[in-house]
């Protein structure tokens, strides 16, 4: 990997990764972020993550990226999952059990409808 030596080089990395982070001009249709802090894991986030990956694979969805992040703070509603479709505001879901995770994939990812009863917040945290 090339070592970073200047502001310009740092800017280049920033601009490229910012697009991925904000879901602009990427090859993917969107991304799913699972909060994987200790609190999330204690609430069952590992099972939730597995359920999402499996449900996407079962439905042959390969244009969604699944990533992990840290705790977003509202531990009360863990496990939390953020769905960020390109060009839309991210939606944060709470209390996402594996079963609810499959519902989110079916409803939100496949048919584009927000799963409103699980929604905790719309927009950036």
């Amino acid at each position: 990997m090339a070592k970073v030596k200047s502001l310009e080089e740092l800017m280049k990395i920033k601009e490229k990764s910012l697009k991925d982070l904000q879901m602009r001009d990427t090859e993917k249709k969107g991304k799913i972020v699972v909060a994987m802090g200790t609190c999330g894991i204690a609430a069952g986030a590992k099972d939730t993550l597995q359920a999402i990956v499996r449900e996407l694979a079962d439905n042959k969805v390969d244009d969604m990226s699944v990533v992990q992040s840290g705790c977003m703070g509202l531990c009360e509603v863990e496990p939390t999952v953020e769905v960020h479709m390109e060009g839309q505001a991210p939606i944060i879901y709470g209390h996402v059990t594996p079963e609810q995770a499959r519902r989110i994939v079916q409803q939100h990812i496949l048919s584009g409808k927000v799963v409103s009863d699980l929604m905790v917040k719309k927009g950036e945290i």
């Binding site: 200790t38 609190c39 894991i41 204690a42 609430a43 069952g44 531990c75 009360e76 863990e78």
Partner: protein
């Protein structure tokens, strides 16, 4: 010597080799004793006197120094532990949310006390300091990474079942 003892010896032999290699690698790092003890405990499961003597010899420090450090820190133990260490967090939040009752139930289910190992060697129960998952209180940790949050006494048998094999 019976055959069974020999397999234990052989296993110990490789563990000692692995520990020795780790010590060799970290010898140049000043103050590596605690790191070495962490490694030794992860290999042997606990830190018996022989292991402490070995570490002292390899690091070229007095055995008393090793013993002093082992007994100072809660994390190190000189008693063997179960294959699955069931750790009940007794931090403030867990305490306020009834961790003591979860602990009672665990003791009943496993029929052993705190810091004791079940007869089949499968479980041991430990009280631990705050695990930092207070929002999920009360918290039980099995091994190093299996966290269970908002545990009620009645969920204890279900949690243990996964590890009963």
């Amino acid at each position: 010597m019976s055959l069974e003892q020999c397999t234990v010896c052989a296993r110990h032999e490789t563990l000692y080799q692995e520990l020795d290699a780790f010590i060799e690698k970290n010898r140049h790092r000043p103050g590596a004793l605690i790191e070495v003890l962490h490694k030794a405990q992860s290999l042997f499961g606990f830190l018996p006197a022989e292991v402490q003597a070995f570490i002292a010899k390899q690091l070229g420090i007095p055995e008393s120094t090793v013993f002093g450090v082992v007994t100072f820190y809660h994390y190190f133990t000189m008693k063997p532990r179960g294959q699955n260490q069931v750790k009940v967090c007794l931090g403030t939040a867990c305490y306020v949310k009834g961790a003591d009752r979860v602990l009672e139930r665990l003791k009943e289910e496993l029929k052993v006390g705190i810091e004791e190992v079940t007869q089949d060697g499968r479980f041991s129960i430990h009280e631990v300091r705050c695990l930092g998952a207070c929002s999920m209180a009360p918290v039980v940790l099995i091994g190093e990474k299996d966290f269970f949050g908002r545990v009620t006494p009645d969920e204890v048998p279900k949690i243990l079942k996964k590890y009963r094999g």
